[in-house]
């Protein structure tokens, strides 16, 4: 009945199917590959190993950029797993036994959030390792500083973990809101992989929309982490207006999570289960 009991139940559910490790493997492959390619390109161009035409970055900006690939590119994975935590229950109708065992539905949602935080941290660690590992290897290979001695680097990695956790919670809210698994997954992918990147790219050229775009969840996430490959692609100027402060970005992301959860709870979670 308690949140603790429900959380243990959710924990068992989460790790008794293969979804989590399949997503983790894809996360490692995707983030790792992206980080490796970017690390090679940036390190090579910065050191002048390949033609020096392109904009080369100052060496001290490279490592945070590469390390943050774990969130800037990989944030879709915690979002997905959070969504799936809820939509699988709708899809396989396991919400019936779940609500029979824990009739107070709010408790179930809280338990999912608790487990989501744990899963987010776990995925965060995996994602950070997947991005930092290849990046650091290339930096070392090109004789650049990995910045592991800097406290800023570790703070950045810590903020990446926070971002992962928040993304899972947002996913739970989205899942509760959308219910339909396919719809939720497609929606998440379209928004994160298409809509928001386009909007952010457009914001680099159209100043008027920039104040809005910076509050989009992906941008807020990047602001929270403090570095993103997107700030590189945003233009030679390092992007128009300044991004949010990291804590402001974190609060915006948290607000998304809270709003999604509350809306999901009110509009969908309390509905009839049949």
């Amino acid at each position: 009945m308690s949140v603790v009991a429900a959380s243990r139940s959710e924990f068992t559910k989460q790790f008794s199917t293969s979804m989590w490790w399949i997503l983790a493997i894809v996360l490692v492959a995707y983030v790792g590959f992206t980080a490796a390619v970017l690390a090679f390109a940036l390190a090579a161009s910065t050191t002048g190993a390949i033609g020096g035409d392109g904009p080369s970055l100052p060496a001290d900006r490279i490592s945070p950029l590469l390390y943050s690939v774990g969130t800037a590119v990989g944030y879709v994975f915690p979002l997905l797993i959070g969504t799936l935590m809820v939509t699988t229950e709708f899809r396989h109708k396991t919400l019936t036994p779940t609500f029979l065992a824990t009739p107070r539905r709010g408790t179930v949602l809280w338990a999912k959030v608790v487990v989501g935080i744990v899963v987010g941290a776990l995925f965060g660690v995996i994602g950070v390792i997947a991005s930092v590992g290849p990046a650091a290897a290339f930096l070392v290979g090109y004789g650049l500083d990995t910045d592991f001695s800097s406290a800023d680097t570790w703070a950045l990695l810590g903020r990446m973990l926070i971002a992962y956790v928040l993304w899972v919670v947002i996913g739970i809210g989205v899942g509760a809101l959308v219910r339909n698994q396919v719809g939720a997954v497609v929606g998440v992918l379209v928004f994160t992989q298409f809509l928001e990147p386009v909007a952010r790219a457009a914001a680099a050229f159209v100043e008027q929309i920039e104040p809005i775009v910076r509050y989009l969840p992906g941008a807020a996430s990047d602001a929270l982490v403090g570095a993103s490959i997107f700030t590189l692609s945003a233009g030679p100027g390092g992007g128009t207006g300044d991004p949010l402060e990291w804590w402001a970005g974190g609060l915006v992301l948290l607000a998304y999570a809270v709003v999604a959860l509350v809306l999901g709870y009110i509009t969908s979670w309390r509905r009839d289960v049949s």
């Binding site: 009945m1 308690s2 009991a5 429900a6 243990r8 139940s9 959710e10 068992t12 559910k13 008794s16 199917t17 293969s18 979804m19 699988t88 396989h92 109708k93 396991t94 019936t96 036994p97 779940t98 609500f99 029979l100 065992a101 824990t102 009739p103 107070r104 009839d272 289960v273 049949s274």
Partner: protein
């Protein structure tokens, strides 16, 4: 020992938009009993149970467990165990992990998981993913979930679905055991036969309303018993019975005698020196009573909310709407109201014989007081052409269940009625050919009505003491004489046969339109027995179909025997067996045995209740073969025409097309409850 708690439904109403799923449902379920919760698909059973379990919020009213709503229970799983559907599992999770998750949620020791898995016989499969479980295993896993908390209340929604006969027997024993321990057991089903041996008490719901509440014994009139007797030397037996002035009817299962104890029948035979091959008593046709209650034809005082006329009136609207188009005919499992046939207004042809014959049928059975008030209405309706439609359902059921529930000729009566109320048939029937539904209205409704009259008179001839009136004998000759002319009078395109289980077969148009009335062909095909399903299917390919309704004017020698119209529980059991027998029919095409029927499957002990629930693949296959049937049916019929007259009643070797169709009908018969 967990204590059983009483379940209380009070004025429960649930609307989904404009649809009222449950309407003012008030009932009480006692601990220490197995209570059956019966109703056709879509009657609101599942919704009621879900409201009870806090999964669905009622529009009005309350449902409590031991006085508390489910959400207020301190330890829900330790108080109530529920099995709601067989598919509430993540296919990628093992059975053990599934249970472990919920044991944790309910703060139960995880050792309990192994216990319940052992209890339901899934210990070996505990570590396997549920996706690889059979339907029966899933049902068991669902039951294991329900038993996790060793609850005092068990709520099971169609628990027998997917279980093999052995599993069903096991389930029965388990439920009885649990009830004996003082627990409350509420088990829903859409088949009375399925729970009849298990339950002590019944709730019957129809169209969201409670129509019966009380012990099983209250359901049926104890006078509705019949004795079945047979002899290798049947003429001698019949002679003896006639000599002893014992009225009898000859059914396929033997000679049926109503209202007379087996002992006396045996004595008669013995006195005449006739050796008997069978002598047994049949129970009352509970299934018929159940269907009557569900259809609103009969009203039981235990459900004060539903008055006869009121129920009928309320039923009329939805069913009429649902049966408006022929296309809906095949898919209207829930429309049970007689008046729904109004949708069929296309058939108001004058039926000269029908009313005359139908009236006795309606008027005769006065065993039930409540239906009486409906009869004037029915008779009046019968006077005009729509009689066959507006009244036949009740007329038929009255005929069947009133004085002579297992009338020999009910098969014909039902066949006739089918033309009228096929849309309202509670279960389903299958169109034999694609063109059938539309054109059947006029002629088919008309022609059989003569038979209905005949059927009525046939019954009357059976002269049950209570039903014998002077009128029926009058009508007796007239209908038989008139029935043949009635048929050719319209463009006969199709006919029907109805099984008492509610499966209606539409018979394809005859290749030649001869009335066949002089034909010697037996009327076996109007069989109401479930076994008949296969046979009816056979008949679908038979061009001389209308003889089904044209009772031979001549006597009843063996070849002319009508099929046993008996709808009693054994027959239902047999049906169920047939339905479940054909192994998971991955090979639908080869499922000729699907229609194989053993008429003898009426053994008391082995009534298989199992009901094979189709998988997606099966349904796929059904559709596939059904597509062939629609295209090829007429040809097949023509091809098989020459043999048609010869097939004995029990010859059920169905061809591919027919068996596929019978599969279809089974489909609909067992179709899941819409949620």
């Amino acid at each position: 020992m967990p204590e059983g708690l009483a379940l209380e439904f009070s004025g429960l109403t649930k609307r989904f938009g404009a649809v009222t799923a449950v309407s003012d449902f008030t009932a009480h379920v006692e601990p220490g009993l197995v209570t059956g919760f019966l109703g056709p698909n879509g009657a609101g059973k599942t919704t009621t149970l879900r409201v009870l379990l806090g999964l669905v919020r009622p529009t009005a009213g309350t449902a409590t467990i031991g006085g508390q709503p489910y959400a207020k229970l301190k330890h829900p799983l330790q108080t109530v165990g529920a099995v709601l559907e067989a598919s509430s599992f993540h296919p990628g999770r093992s059975g053990a992990a599934h249970l472990k998750a919920y044991a944790q949620a309910a703060s139960l020791p995880t050792s309990r998981v192994d216990e319940v898995l052992g209890l339901v016989g899934l210990a070996d499969a505990a570590g396997r993913k549920v996706g690889g479980y059979s339907l029966g295993m899933r049902q068991r896993l669902g039951l294991a979930y329900a038993l996790l908390g060793d609850p005092g209340v068990l709520v099971l929604d169609e628990p027998a679905n997917g279980l093999d006969p052995e599993g069903i027997k096991w389930m029965r024993v388990l439920l009885r055991q649990l009830a004996r321990e003082g627990r409350t057991v509420l088990v829903s089903s859409h088949l009375l036969a399925e729970v009849q041996q298990t339950v002590d008490s019944l709730l019957i719901i129809s169209q969201g309303r409670l129509v019966f509440q009380g012990p099983l014994e209250d359901l049926a009139d104890p006078t509705e018993h019949a004795t079945v007797v047979d002899s290798p030397d049947r003429p001698a037996l019949l002679a003896a019975l006639t000599a002893a002035d014992v009225p009898y009817e000859i059914l396929r299962s033997g000679v049926t005698i109503r209202g007379i104890e087996p002992a006396r029948v045996g004595a008669v035979a013995s006195a005449a020196g006739v050796a008997l091959s069978a002598l047994q008593q049949r129970g009352p046709a509970l299934e018929e009573v159940f269907l009557d209650l569900v259809n609103g034809v009969r009203v039981h005082p235990s459900a004060p909310g539903a008055t006869g006329v009121g129920a009928r009136e309320t039923d009329a609207a939805p069913s009429a709407a649902a049966t408006e188009t022929p296309a809906d005919e095949t898919a209207s499992p829930e429309t049970t109201a007689p008046e729904g046939a109004e949708a069929d207004a296309a058939a108001p042809e004058p039926v000269p014989v029908g009313p005359a014959g139908a009236e006795p049928a309606v008027a005769a059975p006065v065993a039930h007081t409540e239906p009486d008030e409906l009869e004037p209405e029915d008779e009046a309706a019968a006077a005009d052409a729509e009689a066959a439609e507006t009244s036949t359902l009740s007329a038929t059921f009255d005929t069947e269940t009133g004085g002579t529930p297992q009338a020999a000729f009910v098969s014909s009566a039902i066949a006739a009625a089918a033309a009228a109320y096929r849309d309202d048939e509670p279960k389903s029937y299958e169109p034999a050919a694609t063109e059938a539904p539309q054109e059947t209205t006029d002629a088919a409704a008309e022609a059989p009505s003569g038979d209905e009259a005949e059927a009525a008179t046939g019954e009357a001839a059976a002269s049950e003491a209570t039903t014998a009136e002077s009128e029926p004998p009058q009508g007796e000759n007239q209908p038989t004489a008139d029935a043949p002319p009635a048929e050719p009078s319209g463009p006969i395109t199709a006919s029907f046969a109805v099984a008492s289980t509610g499966v209606i077969d539409i018979v394809p148009p005859p290749a030649d339109s001869s009335a066949d009335s002089t034909d010697e062909t037996p009327a076996e095909d109007a069989d109401v027995d479930v076994e008949a399903l296969g046979e009816i299917d056979d008949e679908l390919s038979n061009p001389h179909e209308e003889r089904v309704f044209a009772m031979p004017a001549g006597g009843t020698d063996d070849t002319d025997l009508p099929e046993d119209a008996d709808a009693d529980v054994e027959a239902i059991g047999a049906i169920d067996q047939e339905l479940s027998e054909p192994e998971p029919s991955e090979d639908e095409a080869g499922a000729g045995e699907a229609s194989d029927s053993s008429p003898e499957v009426e053994g008391e002990e082995q009534r298989p209740w199992g009901e094979y629930v189709k998988t997606e693949a099966d349904l796929e296959a059904d559709r596939f073969f059904a597509a062939f049937d629609e295209g090829s049916e007429p040809d097949e019929g023509a091809g098989e025409a020459p043999e048609s007259g010869d097939s004995p009643p029990d010859d059920t070797g169905g061809g591919e097309g027919e068996s596929a169709e019978s599969q279809d009908s089974r489909d609909e018969h067992e179709g899941g409850e819409p949620r």
